[in-house]
């Protein structure tokens, strides 16, 4: 999965490739509600990213980061 999430919380994984490790119940997409779009739910995926994928040469082996992302933030990769 590639992340397209643009919320400040998820910006550090935007455009990065990860692997879904858990699927959580659908929840209100706060970004939409905050911009007046009402109550819209989306499934949430816990996506695992390697440190190398996120930080390149500045990253490290043996470290992974997991970020919970709305389905609309993801695209196939």
């Amino acid at each position: 999965m590639a992340s397209t999430g643009a919320h400040p919380r998820t910006r550090y994984v935007q455009g990065k490739r990860g692997t879904i490790v858990r699927i959580d119940p659908a929840a209100n997409v706060a970004d939409i509600e905050a911009h007046g779009g009402g109550f819209v739910t989306d499934p949430i995926y816990s996506v695992r990213f390697t440190s190398r994928e996120l930080w390149g040469d500045g990253g490290a082996d043996g470290e992974t980061m997991h970020v919970d992302l709305y389905e609309r933030y993801l695209q196939d990769s």
Partner: protein
């Protein structure tokens, strides 16, 4: 309070909160007993002692541990811990080769029902950024030195999901009761910044 000619001056935020509270009480919007009850709840009912009970139960009851790792919310509710900031709980298990660390890079998401309110450092930009940027170095600086053979998994909390680390049971505790074991479990071990 006893008569004191020089009472400690209120911080601006304390004065503001007191002023707002008194106006709300005057207007009948707020009941002082309700405020006292909320403060008491945070002081007496919420805190790492709750999480410690969950961990000790998991250490002593394999079936409970399985449930805790597959449906954390429900298993934690079994012990009476549920409520706001703990509505969807995920528990991650430390092993000899995997160490878990919890952070909220955005701000301060934290599992209130089992750990209470977050410590100040948890909300500090340095912790929030370094936990995802260089967790192994950060942990070493905090006194938790992990070998290269230990994978570090960092979990970025959100409004929807809160994480609790299930630490490894320390050696030499085979004879301990569940209650004694709970006494060994620290807040930091359940955030993942420390090992037991």
């Amino acid at each position: 309070m006893t008569a004191d000619h020089h009472p400690a001056e209120l911080a601006p935020i304390e004065a503001r909160v007191a002023a707002i509270e008194s106006v709300l009480v005057e207007k009948g919007i707020l009941d002082t007993d309700a405020v006292d009850e909320i403060v008491r709840h945070f002081e007496d009912n919420l805190g790492p002692m709750n999480g410690a009970k969950v961990v000790a139960r998991a250490w002593t009851d394999p079936q409970y541990k399985d449930r805790l790792l597959t449906d954390g919310t429900d298993a934690i509710k079994d012990l009476g811990f549920e409520g706001p900031e703990g509505n969807h709980m995920v528990v991650v298990e430390n092993t000899p080769t995997v160490h878990n660390l919890v952070v909220c890079t955005l701000c301060s998401c934290y599992p209130w029902t089992v750990l209470g309110l977050p410590p100040k450092w948890y909300k500090a930009p340095a912790y929030r950024s370094r936990a995802v940027r260089e967790p192994r170095k950060l942990l070493a600086e905090l006194g938790t030195v992990l070998g290269d053979d230990v994978e570090i998994r960092v979990w970025d909390s959100s409004a929807e999901t809160r994480y609790l680390v299930l630490p490894m049971r320390p050696d030499g505790t085979a004879d301990m009761s569940e209650e004694q074991l709970a006494g060994l479990v620290t807040r930091d071990s359940m955030i993942g910044v420390a090992r037991l």
